[in-house]
Symmetry: C2
Subunit: 409 residues, 2 copies
């Protein structure tokens, strides 16, 4: 049963994300949380800090004791002792008094600021000269100045970066609830495709798509399981697809999605229980013959066989679907636009979005995007490329000097 | 033994990278090579493809047989059979003849191009109408068009991205020689610091730097070993530092690097065998009291204790040192400049480089960098931040509207 292409636009295709629900959650130790997607909002149950901390090495004082002090007119303060780190100071600071304190130390009673050691000189064991004045509140962090008790500080859907891990540490969260990582199954198809460890015979080529797609999946922080190569055989593809779907959250089959003599993907999808083909064909180049089906509520993708086409479809189309089931939302990942200046005119067909591979060149304070030409079967063009630019449906091309948004590869 | 700061500029500091040699190499399976740094140049020992491949589903023909064909004036060709995938075709194509071929199939003898199936119509089992002409060489990839035998295609020092892994797969490289991952030991210091699983007493805080630094290391693709917290104790710090140095390629100690009452880092470094302090102090803010020593030819870093300061120093200073010993060179990682427009005036002190935390805001096609103010001990400011901007030594600040380069966090 061949279906004719009912080609969709990129925006129409991306709307199908809502047909899939984000993955379950799991708890991971804080030390393994890097890059994971937070699955819950985090409120602080403490003030941070919960005591008034010095942020300088120096002397805890009353600011008023230093008012008017300067290079030619130092203030003299009596040193009463030192604050021990990590303890409640057992002394207090009155007018004209100072207590030695280190960065991170707790301000003693009576002190409202810290004078930096660099702005003092010791006269003897118990007296310092002070050459600057400090205002109350200076060189210290007040209770709750970092985080206030009860404050909503992290939101479910955020990516955990080093600083979010640090914040969770500060709050004493030893474990954190995150979304499970999507597990993506990868199948290559084609009678002409042989594994990397085989020497291809005449007319054969090694399996490239498994390696490019697997690593594109890993790059997103998801897990990937390669299921090897299936020849142009309906039964074998059905069996392998069923196995992959069983073990994974989504499946990518590359090759066999064009209207060709070997087009089994559609038939295999239709044969699987609880399956629904969402679209077949996207108005992009390369990458038009892409299929997405919902099979048992999981994504089942038919990607083009040409390596560049499959990589482009992954970067622009599949990636947002993976992010969706990863539960990413809110401000992260930020949609930050990286732009460059087109180094030459590029022609494009109307009625479809063209993706052009580009190399970035930094010259005279300008970042140039230089188009790389070559057929979409040539992996070497992707190796030369730093990114992709997108030429809209309703344009016949872009002129040299145009500011273009770059999808970094 | 206290040393006075001999403050260096960022450029002076980065020159010390050459005092350290890149790590040894190791061989990893292709499937585990993602993100690793290639340690050797790769030349292709084959032509890719090594046979003339069709890149369309259609018919292998002699282009000349289609010359002049059009919608109103089709050419008629005799279909001689089909190319089986992955095999040498057992038939040839003469003038006026066509052979069915699929994407990836090997062109039969005599054929010089492929007519797409969409541009043909079957009249009967052995005859097709052709509605377009094809030029010789069209819709096929010639021998060596992707990669030529002997071509230098990858260079030692490149990062392996998905496409490089794909290329290595195409060449049959089951294993690849890469640089070993740097192993970075992390030590937190301070009597007031307690582990995440402890409830801090009065005047105590939980260990944040271990978590931020550990994840910054992981983000670079290096390995990290946390060595926990050492109190303000010379013997304990010396013992822990020696152990960490023994097990790791470099060590980061945070806290205790300022000129303070607890400044043991310098003393500990001096006490270690074969040690040389390269600098103490960088003309940046935050992050000035940073130390780098060469101990037994490894990097031993003393980082500031304030969490923001330590993260800034890591992102701007330590990272290039890790990249250096990782063996990264050549075009990757590309120094791509990401810029944004400053949303308000920012003041800065002369004589040092100021790093300002910023939030990125996309508005009206402009990416704005909005400064986040707050002391360098506040982790919350890093959680709000998307990046850092750098204000040069010889400026008193930047005006609203200035185009600034952003270090993404």
């Amino acid at each position: 049963m061949k279906e004719f292409f009912k080609v969709k636009t990129i925006d129409q295709v991306l709307e199908y994300r809502t047909q899939f629900v984000p993955l379950e959650t799991e708890e991971v130790p804080l030390g393994n949380s890097m890059g994971r997607i937070l699955a819950e909002d985090i409120h602080s149950d403490i003030d941070l800090p919960d005591f008034t901390r010095s942020i300088m090495d120096g002397f805890a004082v009353r600011g008023a004791s230093t008012f008017g002090a300067g290079e030619g007119n130092p203030a003299y303060l009596a040193v009463k002792g030192s604050v021990a780190m990590g303890e409640i100071p057992n002394l207090s600071v009155g007018p004209g008094e100072a207590v030695r304190i280190s960065t991170g130390g707790m301000l003693p009673e009576g002190a409202d600021s810290v004078i930096m050691v660099e702005h003092t000189e010791a006269i003897d064991e118990t007296t310092i000269e002070v050459y600057r004045s400090v205002a109350p509140g200076q060189n210290m962090v007040a209770v709750g100045e970092d985080i206030k008790k009860g404050e909503a500080i992290l939101i479910g859907g955020q990516v955990i970066r080093p600083q979010e891990a640090g914040l969770l540490a500060a709050l004493g969260k030893q474990a954190v609830r995150v979304r499970k990582k999507p597990v993506v199954g990868i199948i290559s198809t084609g009678d002409e495709v042989v594994p990397v460890d085989k020497v291809p015979g005449p007319g054969q080529i090694r399996d490239v798509n498994t390696h490019t797609l697997l690593n594109q999946v890993l790059e997103l922080g998801a897990s990937a399981i390669p299921f090897g190569i299936v020849g142009d055989d309906y039964d074998a593809l059905l069996a392998k697809s069923t196995e992959a779907l069983d073990r994974c959250d989504m499946v990518l089959v590359s090759g066999g999605s064009s209207v060709g003599v070997r087009d089994f993907t559609i038939d295999v999808i239709s044969a699987m229980e609880d399956s629904d083909i969402l679209f077949h064909g996207i108005s992009i180049s390369p990458g038009k013959p892409t299929i997405l089906a919902r099979v048992q509520n999981k994504q089942f993708w038919g990607l083009p066989g040409h390596v560049v086409s499959a990589m482009v479809v992954f970067a622009r189309i599949v990636k947002p679907f993976i992010e969706h089931i990863s539960g990413i939302s809110g401000r992260a990942p930020k949609k930050i636009k990286f732009t460059a200046t087109l180094s030459r005119n590029v022609a494009s067909a109307q009625g479809r979005v063209d993706f052009v591979r580009i190399r970035l060149i930094q010259k005279n304070d300008t970042t140039w995007a230089e188009p790389i030409l070559g057929k979409s079967g040539l992996i070497s063009t992707m190796v030369k490329a730093d990114g992709l630019i997108e030429i809209g449906m309703n344009t016949e091309g872009l002129d040299k000097g145009t500011e273009v948004e770059v999808i970094l590869l």
